[in-house]
């Protein structure tokens, strides 16, 4: 079984939990005491990932420490539907958004860790970089909408969407509102409405997807 070294509040770990849920891949979860224990910085954990970051995905002798690589691995194992179209242009665009998700983690993700778990750093710079990234995402998604599209690449959701979704949907946790980004908001709703979607703390269930219970 594939094993995920996991932390419940980590946006990067959530990428993998969400992807696995959408693909119906069962993972074995190993909770790591990231906060307050900082177990990911322990000597024992360094054997697994010298960079001291989460998530880590282990399948036999394969050890992955980059969440975008994990998305590719899970999607490849599961029939390739989530890899995006394979024409040169689309394949390059998927790579663009996988890399872009790193920028989201380095800006919105850090703002969130600052505001929530007291990480030290330049909060104004993180928020400003977060807004800059959201503007790019908003422009791209607006153009997709003008062309009748919903997803970042192609006609179906892909690893590109899953890579970018967590830090965007959690941006409020770091004091960055999505009010000014209507196309981004609709895109996050589309992801939250997917079959088998799973939430994480900070992203509420879309209760409207189920009918109101009968009043007795």
């Amino acid at each position: 079984m594939i094993r995920l070294y996991d932390y419940v509040l980590s946006a990067s770990c959530y990428k993998i939990r969400l992807m696995a849920a959408l693909l119906c891949v069962k993972l074995e979860h190993e909770a790591v005491d990231f906060h307050p224990g900082r177990a990911h910085k322990s000597a024992a954990f360094a054997q697994l990932n010298p960079a001291g970051t989460l998530p880590v995905l282990v399948d036999g002798d394969l050890i992955l420490t980059e969440s975008t690589a994990m998305l590719v691995y899970l999607a490849q194992l599961s029939g390739r539907d989530w890899l995006g179209p394979c024409d040169p242009k689309s394949a390059a665009q998927v790579q663009h958004w996988l890399a872009f998700s790193g920028r989201l983690a380095a800006s919105l993700g850090m703002a969130r860790l600052h505001d929530m778990l007291l990480y030290e750093g330049d909060i104004d710079a993180w928020r400003a970089q977060g807004h800059a990234a959201l503007r790019e995402l908003e422009a791209a998604l607006s153009e997709r909408r003008f062309a009748g599209g919903v997803w970042l690449v192609g006609d179906a959701p892909s690893i590109a969407d899953i890579a970018c979704f967590p830090n965007v949907a959690l941006s409020q946790d770091g004091g960055v509102s999505l009010d000014a980004y209507p196309s981004v908001r609709l895109w996050t709703r589309a992801i939250r409405a997917l079959d088998r979607f799973v939430e994480m703390p900070g992203i509420h269930r879309l209760h409207e997807l189920r009918p109101a219970p009968e009043v007795a």
Binding site: Y7, V8, L9, A31, V32, D33, H35, P36, G37, A39, D115, M116, L117, L118, Q172, D173, G175, M200, P201, G202, H204, R205, H207, R210, A212, P213, E214
Partner: protein, 280 residues
């Protein structure tokens, strides 16, 4: 000027284990800068005007910026053998410390905020329960609280009707007792200790004393952090940020008896730091 009633209370300011491990915590209490650190083998809390009263309990460092009106409240269960004491770590929330406590006392939000864990539609009904302000200890207590829960604890298997008792022993601390899935004759104990950084910003320290030998520590912490972080996005979006003590400002129902008693108790005792007195 902060009222003496507020200054003379105890507030959590750090996790004891982290300070004992040599960390120095530079933080704030009631809007004033403080530092928590170890000096000559003892934990000290220093403010601008010198040292504060300090005590250590339930895994945390507590400080009183005035003259303590009373000793820190006890949690007798913390001393029982066989319980695992779990420090969950700090989470910062942009809300009034009093709103953070009030949310902890509330069960009606479980189906909507902790969906499929602490509650689920259609099991939304809150049955009548009992609330009192205990004269001897001057604490708010809610008893005979029951609620249907799909996954009441990390150790729970399937849905159960959970019994609860709630207790507010200090203005910014609350303790709950709930059905222990592993030991039907005992209660699990969960607390939240809230450090008022300012009237609209707080550091929250969840803490647990559980009968659970099986679940790894990291999973117990993850479960409680999951629950509290689901609340955080609510707490940061309540308007106003301050807790209204004017009864006309918000509309409670019978399910909110604990919150009503908590607000009255705060008002009666003049514990209004983080509260809004008149409708804005």
């Amino acid at each position: 000027m902060i009222a003496p009633e507020v200054m003379n209370e105890w507030y959590p300011v750090a996790m004891a284990a982290q300070i004992c491990a040599g960390q120095r915590r530079v933080t704030q209490l009631l809007g004033q800068p403080i530092t928590v650190h170890v000096q000559d083998g003892v934990i000290v809390v220093t403010g601008q005007a010198g040292p504060l009263h300090v005590t250590e309990a339930f895994g945390h460092v507590w400080a009183c910026p005035g003259t303590p009106a009373h000793p820190l409240f006890p949690i007798p269960e913390a001393l029982e053998t066989g319980r695992r004491l779990v420090d969950v770590g700090v989470v910062r929330v942009k809300c009034s410390p009093l709103r953070a406590v009030e949310n902890f006392l509330d069960i009606a939000h479980f189906p909507f905020v902790h969906t499929d864990v602490l509650g689920a539609e259609p099991h939304t009904e809150v049955n009548r329960y009992e609330v009192q302000i205990r004269e001897d200890s001057d604490e708010v207590w809610a008893t005979k609280v029951t609620f249907y829960q799909p996954q009441a604890a990390k150790s729970a298997e399937g849905g159960i009707v959970t019994q609860y008792m709630y207790r507010v022993p200090a203005p910014t601390a609350a303790v709950l007792y709930k059905t222990c899935p592993a030991r039907p004759d005992a209660w699990d104990v969960i607390g939240i200790f809230v450090q008022p950084l300012s009237e609209e910003l707080c550091d929250v320290w969840p803490w647990m004393a559980l009968y659970d030998d099986a679940t790894p520590q990291a999973e117990l912490i993850a479960f409680q952090q999951m629950i509290f972080l689901q609340d955080r996005s609510i707490l940061e979006n309540q308007i106003p940020r301050l807790l209204p003590l004017d009864p006309g400002m918000e509309i409670p129902t019978q399910a909110d008896l604990t919150s009503i008693a908590y607000r009255r108790w705060l008002k009666k005792r003049g514990l209004t730091y983080g509260a809004q007195m008149v409708a804005a």
